[in-house]
Symmetry: C2
Subunit: 664 residues, 2 copies
């Protein structure tokens, strides 16, 4: 029954214009058009098929990815794709590859930290892929503590060179993608030593492999660090280990935009502000938040469609069983994740604006908002990636047993996503950074230094510390201002409580350590407020399309009230709401789920994911799940033969009671 | 530095007798001795090495498992292991295999549901593995709703046979382990049809493959359902798909202990109580709870040891950095999981007793406690498996980036564990069963029918509805009675609130559907109370060994107060405690973490896991993590050659700008 849309009845229920919602999700008509065109291009190109990848051994899998990266680059050249189109093409191919590091880290590092001269020399080579770069920061012994890296780069004034060296086993570079087998170059972070003095960690461009025969250069030991979590997933990437034995590079390969070493070995600073590095962080984390919404939307799309296809229990007199999406327990787990995907999308969009704002200010030497912007992006990276990782796994569970099959797409989506909780800042370490910023902001409240940006609500701390919610009936919880003030009050009260407890310690640092678990909770409350606030802000814009805005209002309420219910302990213990008000919020939430229900399929259709990109039998657009699951099963290598390899040697002797004499 | 114990300083800190704690963990000196002996036997036998399994392709992996199962069976015969020893041997080999279904489901199904005659015929064959059995219940279209299975077994009085048939695609058997490639027989669940009447689902022994050439018998289509979540993990198992085309079996292969079909085709019942099937469920779920504590203990052991090895930040003047286990944020995530492992161990032990009690009562035709025992095991299965799955992933995250490597052991532990949340009853469906039981119990409170077993506290509902905690300072939270009554009050109040809300609906079933999310929360509260209560009961026993009981008291408080903090919304909204008391509980919890800290390594040593069983470089007993991580990396197949397969065809043309003409 190819061509039948089994979900058509669901689609007909939608109360809004899906095509207009697609534009809202994409961010603009233009962004939608590009994304849609490139997604279809990838989906229709046999070079990018991905249906067998979870069955391949490591070598085959890796080779397959090399083939895809070459095909991708060929298409990019042939079709003269621009930078944005090329980026999307790579992302729709949907396999981690060495090119991610090359384009996403190596090139930006040179752009951000290289002098004009260095950029002129290296970027053209990189743009043409005449060299392939990686980004070698983390070491076996150091991840979060970048300032603790052990690799050294010692200036030798005699030869005008740096000597890059790994003094210990733990100083081996460890994790950088592309490094293991492919990169010809890397930006390597190492402690700069001049005049016998440690000048801290700096970046250096180091060639790793010969451009002739691709063999590692003298003094360089490099390899792959081995299998990682999941089927296919990041095993398509050659995360690497790299050890230096006194490798020499010319002095002009230190990235010198901010600090320089002169011919004489003097260590000097340029007038370029060091804070620039924070601008880069804001940029990278903003893309992570945007990727979180995409990853979560994929899982939610799969689970929602399958929940409409799957039926279980509730048959009366031969009628069909109940669609599992109609069960309240399913809705109470699934719809908040649907709402979260939209919430993260909009906060990601806002972060793009924030990055531009920060950049503009940095260029004008205005550092006023930087700490707040830095804390806010750190917090949102943490919040959205943790929620997305958990959300993907929850979606997998929502698909029951079949979600455990690779053909559901969910296991790989989870495994490939979870490192986002750790890379670019461990999520708990980031929340502690947010907490530090909050404690500082509170300590300055009396000083006349006004909180800015996402902490601006703290200006009203006095009011927020004592206000009481005036919610009297369930529908009061639909008023954005009521929700917003409740979240503000909770956030400020939790932060102030931490600040008070901190003040009881004689050593603030000791207090911070001791209370860090509470501080993390206060930081989460602050970050959730930001997401809720930005969703509400989004809804103050003009949003065209029949019913589109109404649907988003419902999702915004679902997101906020779900959080309120989940964290009601926070709201109650700080006295922001009463138990009765908490219960009313829960009642309202339940009734919102009923409003989401008829629109659920259309709301995930609005993500505009192709079946190729979803890579899930359960999430197929047409809902034709069971025949395709059955078809997929037979593709497993174990089904190549009726009698499996090993049966004659190992199982037959058991059955025939001849095991005693068998050689195993 | 082989042979050095890097964790010796940690072990020296322990304030209790680790050897005695090992006995407590194992359940008895005897259980410890068996477990210890068999674990060492497996660990030292080269046949059971598992270090390369995450790198193998599906076929190789499966073949490797067949070899191990044969080796295991050979050892079992050679060493004349008894049933318990054999079971442990298989579990320490630590790979899902077809034998799990044979011993764990096929044999028990015949024992539980077969007549004496059937047992005499089939069990000896199964015990010698002359036949290999699977357990074919779930279908492509039905999992939770067993009564909705579609496979039919139609009695043909002419030939005295049943005709087993798969009338639809969705009626294919789907998931049974061992079925895909190995099982010769299966207990197949199908709708019994006699006289044209549907008699509901019954079990039938069906031969699937020839005992001569292992080919599927006529009318049988059978194969593997394909790759599942994770590296190795359940891919060592041939979960299968099975389709019947009018397959005939003799009448005496219906399992007839409870119901029979006579030669004439009459459907009759024996006087064996049907409730027996619940006894089996209690048994199976009790083993799942026990397995949960084991799985969680492995993850906790790895994360705890690595947290003591890993250092990050906090170096002053060249001193070593801080062990990450000393950070409160790490403790606040790790130590509750450590406490949970112990809590689940003890509740599992109690469930063993409960199973025996239920069995005794069933034999005496006493069904009074059965509904309560059934609900309680369902709830504990749900609670412990969900917490364990989440806990393993949390432990993985606690290991930072390196936890993402397969060599950490954690990815596989997670992937192999998570199906426990779905099999033998989806965890949410089970909680709804618990909730139904609670609602029924409450509705009967006035009727003189006394709540029994784990619901006995509801006899004091009147008191619990209005009692107030008298906690005045943090240490009051260490009093077991205070904790217990608080958990009882929360559970009863949440259940009563649900019951009240339910009574507002005209149709109770509609109300149950509408409020199901709240009912799930009430069920969780009840189940958490059980775990806390059983931990407290355990501590009322005499527990020998220096400091052992004190450590367990600390862990019991950690477990209870962690739950109290996590769910403080429940406790506050039901008025069981005040915000101040909640805050005192949190203070007490923090101080308990400091007491756990010096004992943490010894507390995980007490699990007595061998390095083989842990299968984790990060969790090594000796703490020699970094050199071994480095060593492991080089074993990856990608490191077999310096230049990877595919480089010449795909990457070189990119670097040399010759891609336009390359054939990809």
């Amino acid at each position: 029954m190819e061509g039948v849309d089994y979900l058509a009845p669901e689609r007909n229920k939608a109360q809004f214009d899906v095509e207009e919602m697609k534009i809202v999700w994409a961010g603009s008509r233009d962004a939608f058009e590009v994304s849609d065109r490139i997604a279809r291009l990838v989906a229709s190109d046999p070079a990018f098929r991905k249906d067998n990848r979870t069955m391949l051994g490591r070598k085959e899998l890796f080779k397959n990815t090399l083939r895809k990266t070459a095909s991708a680059w060929k298409r990019i050249i042939e079709l003269r794709l621009n930078e944005e189109e090329a980026r999307r093409l790579r992302s729709f191919i949907d396999e981690p590859a060495f090119t991610d590091l090359h384009w996403g880290m190596f090139v930006p590092a040179i752009k951000g930290q290289g002098t004009d001269e260095q950029q002129q020399k290296w970027l053209p080579l990189a743009y043409k892929m005449q060299i392939i770069g990686s980004y070698a920061q983390t070491e076996l012994g150091h991840g979060s503590n970048v300032q603790g890296l052990e690799t050294t780069a010692t200036f030798d004034p005699q030869t005008d060179e740096f000597v890059i060296h790994s003094p210990t086993l733990t100083s081996c570079k460890w994790w950088p993608g592309g490094l293991g087998k492919i990169s010809t170059h890397a930006v390597v972070y190492a402690r700069l030593i001049t005049d016998g003095q440690d000048r801290g960690v700096h970046g250096f461009i180091v060639q790793l492999r010969s451009l002739d025969d691709h063999l590692p250069l003298p003094g360089i030991t490099v390899g792959d660090i081995g299998m990682k979590f999941g089927n296919a997933a990041y095993n398509t990437m050659d995360n690497g280990v790299l050890r230096f034995d006194h490798v020499r590079i010319p002095r002009n390969q230190m990235l010198m935009r901010v600090s320089q070493v002169t011919r004489e070995g003097k260590y000097v600073h340029s007038n370029v502000p060091r804070q620039l590095v924070y601008g880069t962080m804001v940029y990278v984390r903003q893309t992570i938040v945007s990727d979180a919404s995409t990853a979560l939307s994929r899982a939610v799309c799969i689970a929602t469609r399958y929940s409409a296809v799957r039926r279980q229990f509730g048959s009366h007199n031969g009628s069909p069983e109940t669609q599992v999406i109609d069960y309240k327990t399913q809705q109470a787990r699934l719809f908040p994740l649907l709402a979260s995907a939209y919430a993260f999308r909009f906060v990601g969009e806002w972060l793009k604006w924030l990055y531009m704002d920060v950049t503009r200010r940095l260029e004008a030497n205005d550092f006023l908002t930087l700490p707040e912007a830095h804390a806010c992006t750190a917090g949102l990276k943490s919040l959205t990636t943790s929620a997305t990782a958990d959300g993907i796994e929850e979606c997998r569970k929502l698909c029951g047993g079949h979600g455990y099959l690779c053909s559901s797409g969910l296991p790989e989506l989870f495994a490939v996503y979870v490192p986002a909780c750790t890379y670019e800042g461990d999520n708990i370490v980031l929340l502690l950074q947010v907490a530090r910023h909050l404690m500082k902001t509170i300590s300055q409240l009396g000083s006349g230094k006004m909180p800015v940006g996402t902490t601006a609500y703290m200006r009203r701390a006095e009011h927020l510390m004592q206000c009481r919610s005036d919610v009297k009936e369930a529908k009061d919880w639909l008023r954005p201002n009521v929700v917003l003030e409740t979240f503000e009050a909770r956030a400020v009260r939790m932060s102030v409580a931490c600040a008070k407890n901190l003040s009881k310690f004689t050593s603030p640092e000791e207090g911070f350590q001791e209370l860090s678990a509470d501080l993390v909770e206060a930081a989460v409350a602050h970050c959730q407020l930001i997401v809720v606030a930005k969703f509400i802000e989004k809804l103050q814009q003009d949003i065209p399309g029949k019913g589109v805005k109404q649907q988003l209002e419902i999702l915004c309420s679902v997101y906020a009230l779900f959080l309120l219910h989940k964290h009601q302990g926070d709201f109650l213990s700080t006295g922001c709401i009463t138990p009765t008000q908490a219960s009313l919020a829960n009642d309202q939430l339940r009734s919102l789920y009923s409003q989401v229900r008829p629109n659920a399929i259309a709301l995930v259709d609005a993500f505009n994911h192709t079946d190729h990109y979803l890579g899930s039998v359960l999430g197929r657009y047409d809902g034709n799940v069971y025949p395709k699951l059955y078809e997929e099963a037979w593709k497993d290598p174990l089904n190549d033969s009726v009698i499996p390899d090993g049966f004659q040697e190992y199982v037959r002797p058991m059955l025939k009671q001849q095991l005693r004499n068998a050689r195993l």
